[in-house]
Point group: C2
Chain length 355, copies 2
Amino acid sequence: METVTQTYRIAVDCMGGDKGPGEVVQAVSLALKELRAGDKLFLVGQEEVLQPLLRSAGIAGDSRIEVRHAPDVIEMDDKPMQAMKSKKHSSMIVALEMLKAGEADAVVSTGNTKVLVGAGTLKVRLMPGVQRPALSAIFPRKTGYSIVVDVGANPETTSEQLVHNTVLGALYSISILGTEKPKVGLLTVGTEEGKGGERINRANAYLKALNERFDWFEYAGPVEGFDVFQGDADVIVTDGFTGNILLKTVEGLVYMLKDLIGEKVKRNPIYIAAGLVLLPLLKAVKRQVRPERFGGAPLLGLNGLVFKAHGSSNKHGTAAAILMARNACSKNINRKASELLAVANDVVAEVQESF
Amino acid sequence: METVTQTYRIAVDCMGGDKGPGEVVQAVSLALKELRAGDKLFLVGQEEVLQPLLRSAGIAGDSRIEVRHAPDVIEMDDKPMQAMKSKKHSSMIVALEMLKAGEADAVVSTGNTKVLVGAGTLKVRLMPGVQRPALSAIFPRKTGYSIVVDVGANPETTSEQLVHNTVLGALYSISILGTEKPKVGLLTVGTEEGKGGERINRANAYLKALNERFDWFEYAGPVEGFDVFQGDADVIVTDGFTGNILLKTVEGLVYMLKDLIGEKVKRNPIYIAAGLVLLPLLKAVKRQVRPERFGGAPLLGLNGLVFKAHGSSNKHGTAAAILMARNACSKNINRKASELLAVANDVVAEVQESF
């Protein structure tokens, strides 16, 4: 349980974002306003780059900041194994090592997702009862938000791993979004039983049995693509292949719509008149669709808290990820997750025997 | 080859749409304006329902129309096998029987997709070299349109079936969208080789080998979700599980954005002023995102032409599907497809041996 005096230490990988370390330092400056006196942010990256940025951001003297030098830089096209071997002194690997060594309570990185998933798993290790990590993303829906797990950490998710994703996603929904009793949907191609293949059928059987044991979440059964934005599930469970394609397609569509509207406004004089009025409307819609206040996607299933901030995050998005990590530290969801996963694996084994 | 005098007969399933047979009859009325003198539309459905609708649409006397009585009606929640057994005299089954018997050259249906895929496969049969049918959908992208195959006919698509989807999708892109040399992308979670699992790796190897044999399409390699709307592939090949979830998620998002914008316009007085200006803009965007001129999704891989019009199609959408079917009749893509599939299967077998 959190006490009033509890403080936390977060290692921030400062070199990974598309917008460069300057934007991450700006994010740190924003986050500091919300953090407690005893909290600590380790800024991991090239010291000669970070120090001047801290000075120009006016936070060089803040006692809650400490720079940790990491000379290597991981590039977006680096392969995980290669980066881990040849770039041991990169900001991401150093930050993960700090988490592993207990020097930090959480890591926030805007870096290469694949390297973060690979290195995070190898360095921080999987929590007991989990076979693969899962990346989550928060999607807006008609009323509120839903968490989609997995959006790309594990492309070949088995039925059993879909159950793990359910436990991790539901727990995350409770602790981060404050959902009371999360409603979980299993993403597939038809809501009647028997659709979607053997893998989905098995996962459906496991989840029904698990829901009989656990009453802290509600299994809503199979859901369809339409339900991601139009349904009422708080957690959408899927494999990392489908989830990743979904996330990126939606991202591409949002960009296309933005361009389309912008172009039409530009081309047609009648729209220019409305342009000034349109702008805040579009911004409001965009805020709701890609909410920066949920700037971090936790890598679920690890023995430590690792948050991925979107590579193209601006300072607000990355600041949100830092505060989300701080919030997660105080919830201690990992211990609870291990207990629940053990029960889930028992249920899976029981149902497997009955097949 | 098509001659100037060639005419075609299309069986239209009039009872399946969400908007009822009246909307389908309106669509027929629109389509008749574009059809040739010798073309024929068989309106399949309950005669007592259709005749008054034809009279009120003012097309009862058109010699190109013939009503075929089908008393049974398939409901949206009917299961395929059940519908085929207990509703033999439904408009959909009668239309498919006409295609099978050679009385019609194509079928257009707004009915239950699952029943259409199941009954279409059983009645019309798969073309030689194909193992499963595939549904295609047309997505708008930054420049032009892309065809996504499969969007739900076959949720457990194998590597070999992904190759069949490629041949069918590319051929369809040439014949219907007029693409000269279609660029085909294989949808996955990362563009570097080795990502996405065994099934994708094998399909990638097959497609590379096939592209060496065929120069009428260009294999662009693996593509990501972002490329569906932002890329330049004319054909996006995927399994029916991912494709279906993708299609429905995008549909849900478009509805949500529409509602969101509508709501904001309603709630905030400043937007009401701009509302009249906004409306045509939103309509223009909507037109581009869900183009009714591509109202039909062909069920690829069958021995006959079966087009699925969206269940919620209005008259323009269904009319577009009828004209698309007419256009496809004149292209005779099915014979060409069988030849190409035979070559594709040879290539798959050769590559398989080398694994």
